[in-house]
């Protein structure tokens, strides 16, 4: 007990607890109510920190990590080769995939001889840490500047390739430009 009292304080802001009985002025509480109200009402005249969200949006910081996209190259071929590095880097174990071999005639669809036939991110598990983006050796996965849309069902948060792939720059150029916000 003795040693505990002599222990050195970590900061200089430590204050001893005041256990003196309250005075009359303190007991009627009026002054404290006034003080509190003053703080409350002063906020009416301050600048509002909130925005009206769906109508107004904030600009994202350049390092914002939002919803994932699977990238394509300039010719519209999928970049992902299902190497599994994003899945192994993922601390939440949200990414799963199944690889397949490219058949002759599919060269315009997939960049390398192996590709992700299935690629899924469980957005319920994802913590948006961006480690998948860092691990990717093929520039295939990126975290975009969009939020995950809200929904009432859990099922809609399992994102497959149809949700993740960006529009093909060759065939769906207009969609891609729209997605980029141009």
């Amino acid at each position: 007990m003795q040693t505990f009292q002599k222990m050195q304080a970590l900061t200089n802001r430590a204050k001893a607890v005041d256990r003196k009985p309250m005075t009359f002025l303190e007991r009627i509480y009026l002054w404290n109510i006034l003080k509190g109200m003053l703080i409350t009402f002063s906020h009416i005249f301050k600048k509002k920190p909130t925005i009206r969200f769906p109508e107004q949006t904030r600009t994202f910081s350049p390092v914002f990590r939002g919803l994932h996209v699977l990238n394509r190259d300039e010719e519209g071929r999928e970049r992902c080769t299902a190497c599994g590095l994003c899945a192994v880097a993922c601390p939440a174990e949200a990414i799963t995939m199944e690889a397949a071999e490219r058949l002759p005639g599919e060269e315009n669809l997939y960049r390398e001889e192996k590709y992700a036939a299935r690629y899924e991110i469980n957005m319920l598990r994802c913590i948006f840490c961006g480690l998948c983006e860092e691990a990717c050796p093929k520039d295939a996965i990126y975290l975009s500047e969009t939020f995950t849309p809200t929904n009432f069902t859990r099922e809609s948060f399992i994102y497959g390739k149809d949700n993740l792939l960006i529009p093909n720059p060759k065939t769906e150029a207009a969609d891609l430009a729209k997605a980029k916000g141009m």
Binding site: V88, A99, L103, N122
Partner: protein, 367 residues
């Protein structure tokens, strides 16, 4: 000479007594750990292997007790036998470290950096070697040599582009099988592992070339692109094989109840280990390629994986699962399953076993 002569040899300031005729590499392996030089072509189970890749170079600072002069150049430790009183420097010699970085650069001259595609990634000796001993960049400015992929039979894929010319597979074919059908064609920069005319490798032990290949040049077609090595769990298993030469003791690479790949059991040097009958644990093609059902095997238990290996990732060893408290609180009622992931997910469907395909999966399998 009935009494076997013991030689005293000092490797990286650690002294050990080894029988005469032991190579420096094997003496260093007896000490173990970091002292053992890496080897890409030497394979202790294959006679005559070694002396080709030069990764095991060491410095001999004292030749022997009788002739204490140092050896003038770095020597290949897999081919140099120890002398009494020899002093060897491996990781304590800056010359060796420097030379090894150079050797790695040479090995990587023509080796493609397609590890994201390669099935060997994660258990590739060249990957480990370049990671531990190599430099970051290369000074090579020319076109890397490339080859077309070749099917050696219907189960083995030869990807010559990745080959580092260690000759191990040639020794396997020479020493394990009665008839050798492949070898080295051409010479110098054009040298390649090949069958002379596109020929299948037909032999019941030829599958072992996959295990001895230090890189991804020879890979199992039944496992091709199915899964990454580190997502599968290695499990020791055995079966009574009809083939008298096959020990039937293998490693299964499983995911759930699916057997994705069967390989021989490897020891700490990445070589096929000793089977319980005292022989080298080579396995036959039937065990390797055709037994992909869990009921074919008697499972002994999980393989011990070095925790620094990527294969050890996600293998939560010694985890204590907390007791489910909900049924107790809910008066015996089981908690409601809100979502079964298999209802939604397209990946790892329980009713589709990709591991049973004898070829890589194609887009047609995912229709």
């Amino acid at each position: 000479m009935s009494e076997q002569q013991l030689f005293k040899v000092t490797i990286d300031n650690i002294t050990i007594d080894v029988p005469a005729g032991t190579t420096i590499l094997n003496a260093a392996r007896q000490i173990g750990g970091e002292v053992a030089p890496p080897a890409m072509c030497y394979y202790s189970k294959l006679e005559g292997s070694g002396g080709k890749c030069r990764t095991c170079l060491v410095e001999v600072s004292k030749g022997s007790e009788k002739d204490p002069r140092p050896m003038p150049k770095l020597v290949a430790s897999c081919r140099t036998t120890v002398m009494d009183g020899m002093e060897v420097k491996n990781i304590t010699s800056p010359k060796v470290i420097d030379a090894r970085a150079g050797v790695v650069e040479f090995l990587l001259l023509n080796h493609p950096l397609d590890c994201p595609i390669c099935d060997q990634a994660g258990e590739c000796h060249l990957q480990d070697l370049s990671y531990e001993h190599g430099k970051e960049g290369t000074r090579y400015e020319f076109q890397r040599r490339t080859f077309h992929k070749v099917d050696l039979g219907d189960k083995i894929q030869l990807h010559m582009t990745r080959c580092i010319m260690c000759f191990r597979c040639v020794f396997v074919a020479d020493q394990l099988t009665e008839k050798r059908e492949h070898g080295i064609l051409d010479r110098g920069d054009h040298a390649q592992i090949a069958t002379f005319i596109q020929k299948n490798l037909q032999n019941e032990f030829i599958g072992n070339v996959i295990d001895v290949c230090p890189v991804g040049a020879l890979t199992d077609k039944t496992f091709r692109f199915k899964n990454r090595v580190w997502f599968t769990k290695p499990v020791n298993a055995h079966r009574t094989c009809e083939n008298p030469k096959c020990c039937g003791e293998v490693q299964l690479w499983m995911r759930g109840d699916e057997v994705f790949r069967v390989t021989a059991r490897k020891d700490e040097w990445g070589e096929v280990g000793q089977a319980s009958n005292g022989k080298t644990g080579w396995i036959c093609n039937v065990c390797r390629f055709d037994k992909k059902h869990i009921k074919d095997w008697v499972i002994e238990g999980p393989t011990k994986v070095n925790r620094h290996s990527v294969i050890a990732q996600g293998h939560y060893v010694g985890v204590i699962k907390p007791q489910e408290t909900l049924p107790e609180v809910l008066h015996g009622r089981q908690p409601k399953l809100v979502m079964d992931i298999h209802d939604v997910s397209e990946v790892n469907k329980p009713n589709i076993d990709l591991s049973l395909l004898e070829r890589p999966a194609h887009s047609t399998d995912f229709k």
